[in-house]
């Protein structure tokens, strides 16, 4: 097939990528309850979605125009809801991140899920579609539909397949994010009432040209409405406490998607809606949001340092890393925004990898307590190697993926205000502290518990699941331009109205 033929996919490709997993999930209903068949089918579907999604970055034009692969059809006439999808150089990678991680989730769940296997993989695939939909929707109603659709499968994944206080965790997760979303819904409905449309691009144009009656007075509340929903999701301090509980009790695949993709719904939302729709308010409110981000970076790291539970440690480290993303966004510098998007992707890969690794250990020992381990590098050398590579990616070692994003965010924040960059840069010390200390306690020294002496090293399936993580961490670190060449123009397009706004303010 020549490029011409491939381009003919462009109008439908987003719908394909978005719905392949959900359709596949529903087809699982038709498969008889033979676990092996179900798993294989889920794997094939998720790989298919990944392959289809690769069409997007390959055929994405790297220019400053906003949305690509657009499709815009009337869905419901009253209220005026459109099936409007489209992506830019930012969302394209979040879609690919989702499709990249889902097959790995299937692989890592292969032997760890014993009951209700069918329902598990159905939920997982529906979850994937909902996540992709969040990143591809350009109609606020459609966006909200996908946004809320991620809630129930994840709550069920935690509540049914989790462990320990799983119901508490599921309810906590559900309530925190649900309450946050209500504020966003209110803001969306206000915008619809004033503009008569849910279309993101139309609303954006209306706001920027000053055609929304009453916007002047409402803009702060609208900004906050969206902000609260996204802040809970990121999560920003002080609405972060649902995350460690959700992670600890979630099954491995749930944690991978939660940390890898779901949190990025929050940062993506901040970037697309808070900055995209309300550039003026975004600028005005940047300083206290940055303060929250800085608290998140340092606070998350310090609390991570003292966690006795491996998974909680990784969860708190996510709060720290996501703080970098928010800091980058609200620094309103090209470097900061590029870095923010890159950290989203790098964190998805590295932390997704860390949760997979934690899950592998849990499957063998049914605990995440760090004190239960020690000396594991002796019985499990290959596992220890994969773990170390992922840890190094996470602490931002140059030539691995964590470095590029962190460096750009810090340099952007420093340009915005030196003190932001300086405080955030302490993160490079903290991350080394909590991750290397954990690594030492889990892998080094003599094997203390006899049961750990005989732990089997990685199986072939586990190696297949972990290798893409290690390879992605390296490739993203060595050749980040593959990603940045698409991100950079998109980020500049997002930034343009904000800087315009700033120069207007200065001009007055």
């Amino acid at each position: 097939m020549g490029p011409m033929n491939m381009d003919s996919f462009n109008p439908i490709i987003l719908s394909l990528v978005t719905f392949i997993p959900a359709v596949g999930g529903l087809l699982i209903l038709l498969i008889p309850r033979r676990d092996r068949d179900i798993k294989l089918f889920a794997l094939v579907v998720s790989i298919l979605a990944f392959v289809a999604s690769l069409h997007l970055p390959v055929h994405l034009h790297r220019d400053h125009n906003l949305f690509k692969f657009e499709i815009n059809k009337v869905w419901i006439t009253n209220p005026n809801i459109h099936y409007h999808m489209g992506i830019d150089g930012i969302s394209v990678w979040l879609v690919v991140l989702t499709t990249f991680l889902t097959p790995l989730c299937v692989l890592i769940s292969w032997t760890s899920i014993h009951t209700r296997v069918k329902e598990f993989f159905i939920l997982l695939l529906i979850m994937e579609s909902a996540l992709i939909g969040v990143f591809t929707s350009l109609d606020l109603f459609l966006f909200y539909f996908f946004w809320e659709s991620t809630l129930i499968p994840m709550a069920l994944l935690i509540g049914i397949y989790g462990h320990g206080r799983k119901v508490y965790a599921a309810v906590k997760y559900f309530l925190f994010t649900m309450i946050g979303s209500m504020f966003m819904l209110a803001a969306i409905l206000w915008l619809y009432a004033k503009t008569g449309t849910f279309d993101f691009v139309d609303i954006q144009n209306a706001i920027h040209s000053g055609n929304v009656p009453g916007f002047e007075h409402a803009s702060l509340w609208l900004f906050l409405g969206f902000f609260i929903a996204f802040a809970v999701k990121v999560p920003l301090f002080p609405v972060h406490t649902w995350l460690p509980d959700a992670h600890v009790e979630a099954p491995t695949a749930g944690s991978v998607l939660l940390a890898g993709v779901l949190l990025k719904m929050g940062t993506y939302g901040l970037l697309r809606f808070n900055v995209g729709l309300f550039p003026d308010q975004a600028r005005r409110n940047a300083s206290w949001i940055i303060v929250l981000a800085l608290i998140g970076i340092i606070y998350g790291a310090l609390v991570a340092l003292v966690q006795p539970n491996m998974k909680k440690l990784i969860a708190y480290s996510s709060i720290s890393h996501l703080g970098f993303v928010v800091l980058g966004i609200f620094s309103f510098t090209t470097a900061g925004l590029n870095g923010a998007v890159f950290v989203m992707l790098a964190h998805g890969v590295a932390t997704g990898g860390l949760f997979m690794l934690a899950g592998i250990l849990y499957e063998r020992r049914h605990t995440y307590e760090i004190t239960e381990f020690g000396g594991l590098a002796t019985p499990m050398p290959r596992y220890a190697t994969f773990f170390l590579v992922t840890v190094l990616a996470s602490v931002g070692l140059p030539l691995l993926n964590g470095f590029i994003g962190e460096f750009l965010v810090l340099s952007g924040a420093f340009q915005a205000r030196p003190i932001y960059g300086i405080l955030a840069a302490t993160g490079v010390i903290w991350s080394a502290c909590y991750l290397l200390w954990m690594y030492q306690r889990v892998f080094y020294g003599q094997v203390k518990l006899a049961v750990n002496n005989t732990l089997p090293d990685l199986t072939l399936r586990e190696k297949v699941a972990l290798s893409p993580i290690a390879i992605a961490a390296l490739v993203m670190g060595v050749a980040p331009m593959v990603w940045l060449s698409a991100i950079d123009p998109a980020v500049q397009a997002v930034l343009a109205p904000v800087t315009q706004m700033a120069s207007k303010v200065v001009g007055q």
Binding site: V306, A335, V428, Q446, P480, M481, D488
Partner: protein, 667 residues
């Protein structure tokens, strides 16, 4: 400066050892030791050969080489390339790293042969070479930072090579984290450069810097950049207050101590400061801080070296001290003298460590010098080569160390007699502890257990090492000389320690490096030559003093450890608390634990996690009534350690002053 010329093959030098590391890393587990050694030696040797080849084609008159591989990343107008650069300064580093590195690879074949993790060791060693070569060949600060962090990783892996030993694992982690504290400063310096110069490329940054005025009146951007770079350098090169990781790093196998923690990696900070000479030259305050920190470190570490009984620990503190000399040199603007000492130090300190390894090997893993003695007759080659290295480090003419140390002291004297005086006192102490080491190890009678088998007589460390460690398997009753694969490198380094200083005679080394530092020292040089001509008498007088103190140190060591070996214990007792403090390294590790580590852990646990997270936020979510109680609980548990030490306050004051200066420049 002549414009750089393209040399498209520069990148091959670092890639060679990376290939070796990859091959051994992926396939070494099942390979034979012969195959592993071949790969490791061929690739590190090829890097050395390539370095020699380039050195031959590169004379001091020709222009620097550069080579750009590809874009690394770009954001807006800011971009970073994978680009490499070779001038006289990087050429010296290149030859030292590949030359000494290759010798230590050879030595390691003998030293590590029987270790289970042999392939791992050789792969890490090659990996280290890759990062170190990237560091010295970088054309911009960020590629340098790749090497900078990479050598830190290699160091982490190699210090913790015997990872089943808790102390080794802890030492590796400590090294990485302390280095990260330095990297924090390094990073902020880079952000300042991006802000003001829009680039991290050496050529672009320095060409802009040279247009800036010297910040004599106050502290400005360049001072801040200089101080922040110094923070990074202090981490990597183990200067006060970040030196604490280096002594612990001796947990690593001895070839690692020789290569990474003596000859090459720890000198990266000195190289970085010298590379940034254009910046430092315009920031006299930053220079002064460099000189002060270097001088204090030189003296401070040397005093600790006096009382150590572990042969490797003596050498470790000696390394910290010698690095202090190099910073002193940079701080007084004598960059080429600093690099000269860096080179000779690589020869004699690399040799000292390898010889110490040979000793440890010969006595069955023992590192405590009190259980050695009389080894001269068992290990003549080790004794002779180590003796040469000792003469060199002590500054006995005409060995290598004499020339470079004398150069530094002379340049220091020209800035302030205080630096010179402390430098001379340090030289005295250096000579003393080195000859003390020689007499305790090689002189007198053998004090070790007759059958080194008998683990009762060994320290716990040596015992743990024996488990993993190679050569102790062949249970020797008597100390014995090492095989020639280990002695060969000793002999080569001994020759270099003998004659390596001669390249500095008549300022030849300085002239060779002059093109690198011409922007900085150019004006000064002319001015100085005039002064030097006038004061040759002073120079010879000072030289006489430093040679005298070297012999004085030797004499003292001879009296105390050869003639009257019962005296040191008596002196130690009479010194009481002071001696205790020195033995315990002035309790700095303990101080850091009380000041930083414990409050951090306790505060994070009780205040942040149990207090804010669970006590406040979750309580609001679960049950808001109990929140108030828990907050007060957490507050009650807040404890702050009492700061009792004057030294602590002084250090804190110094840190505050430096932080203030940085802030004035950053603002």
């Amino acid at each position: 400066m002549t414009p750089p010329t393209l040399n498209p093959f520069l990148w091959i030098i670092p890639i060679l050892p990376l290939a070796g590391a990859a091959i051994n890393g992926f396939f070494g587990r099942k390979a034979s030791n012969n195959a592993i050694s071949t790969v490791a030696l061929v690739f590190s040797g090829a890097a050395f050969a390539a370095a020699l080849g380039i050195a031959l084609s590169f004379s001091s008159v020709s222009a620097p080489y550069y080579c750009t591989l590809a874009h690394w990343f770009r954001s807006g107008n800011f971009q970073v390339e994978f680009s490499f650069y070779l001038d006289q300064l990087s050429l010296v580093m290149l030859l030292v790293v590949t030359g000494v590195g290759f010798l230590i690879h050879i030595y390691s074949v003998g030293y590590m042969w029987d270790d289970d993790g042999y392939y791992r060791f050789m792969a890490y060693l090659n990996l280290f070479m890759f990062f170190m070569l990237t560091l010295v060949l970088a054309k911009n600060y960020l590629v340098m930072f790749i090497g900078w962090e990479g050598v830190g990783l290699a160091s982490y892996l190699l210090i913790g090579f015997w990872f089943t030993k808790d102390s080794a694992a802890a030492a590796g982690k400590k090294a990485f984290i302390v280095n990260r504290i330095g990297d924090f400063g390094f990073l902020i310096a880079l952000f300042l450069m991006i802000k003001h110069f829009g680039s991290l490329d050496f050529t672009k940054v320095f060409s802009q810097v040279t247009a800036w005025p010297t910040e004599t009146a106050g502290v400005g951007t360049l001072t801040a950049i200089g101080l922040l770079l110094m923070v990074g350098a202090a981490g990597k090169s183990a200067q006060i207050p970040l030196y604490v990781w280096l002594p612990d790093a001796m947990e690593g196998p001895t070839p690692v101590s020789a290569l990474i923690h003596a000859a090459t990696m720890v000198t990266a900070g000195v190289y970085m400061v010298a590379r940034s000479s254009a910046i430092f030259d315009r920031a006299p305050m930053a220079m002064m801080v460099v000189a002060i920190i270097g001088t204090l470190t030189a003296l401070f570490a040397a005093t600790i070296g006096i009382a150590q009984t572990d042969i490797k620990k003596v050498l470790a503190y000696s390394t910290v001290s010698q690095l202090g000399y190099m910073f002193m040199a940079c701080g007084v603007g004598a960059f080429s003298a600093g690099i000269f000492h860096l080179m000779t130090h690589a020869f004699f300190k690399g040799l000292l460590f390898l010889a110490a390894g040979s000793v440890i090997h010969g006595v069955g893993g023992e590192q405590d010098m009190r259980k050695m003695g009389g080894l001269r007759q068992y290990m003549p080659v080790t004794f002779a080569t180590m003796g040469i290295a000792t003469l060199a480090i002590a500054g006995i003419p005409p060995l290598a160390g004499f020339w470079s140390k004398d150069e530094i002291l002379w340049k220091a004297f020209n800035t302030s007699w205080v630096y010179w005086l402390i430098g001379v006192i340090t030289a005295l102490i250096t000579s003393f502890y080195m000859f003390r080491l020689m007499y305790m190890t090689f002189g007198g009678e053998y004090r070790g257990a007759p059958a080194a088998h008998d683990v009762k007589h060994e320290s716990a460390d040596a015992h743990a090492m024996r488990d993993k460690h190679s050569h102790e398997g062949h249970g020797h009753g008597e100390p014995h000389e090492s095989p020639w694969v280990m002695l060969g490198p000793l002999v080569v380094l001994a020759i270099l320690s003998l004659v390596g200083g001669l390249v500095g005679i008549g300022g030849r080394f300085e002239h060779f490096l002059a093109p690198v530092f011409q922007g900085t020292a150019g004006a000064e040089l002319a001015h100085e030559t005039a002064r030097e001509a006038a004061s040759h008498t002073t120079e010879y007088l000072l030289m006489g003093v430093s040679v005298s103190v070297a012999f004085l140190g030797w004499l003292l060591a001879y009296l105390l450890y050869s003639r009257r070996p019962e005296l040191p214990a008596r002196i130690a007792t009479s010194l009481g608390g002071l001696y205790e403090a020195v033995v315990h390294k002035y309790y700095i590790d303990e101080l850091y634990a009380v000041l930083f580590v414990k409050p951090l852990i306790d505060g994070s646990t009780t205040i942040l996690w149990h207090g804010v997270d669970q006590g406040v936020i979750d309580a609001v979510f679960n049950d808001s009534a109990s929140a108030a109680n828990r907050v007060s609980d957490a507050a009650r548990r807040m404890q702050s350690g009492n700061l009792r030490s004057y030294a602590g306050w002084i250090a804190a004051g110094g840190a505050a002053v430096i932080a203030y200066m940085v802030w004035m420049g950053v603002r």
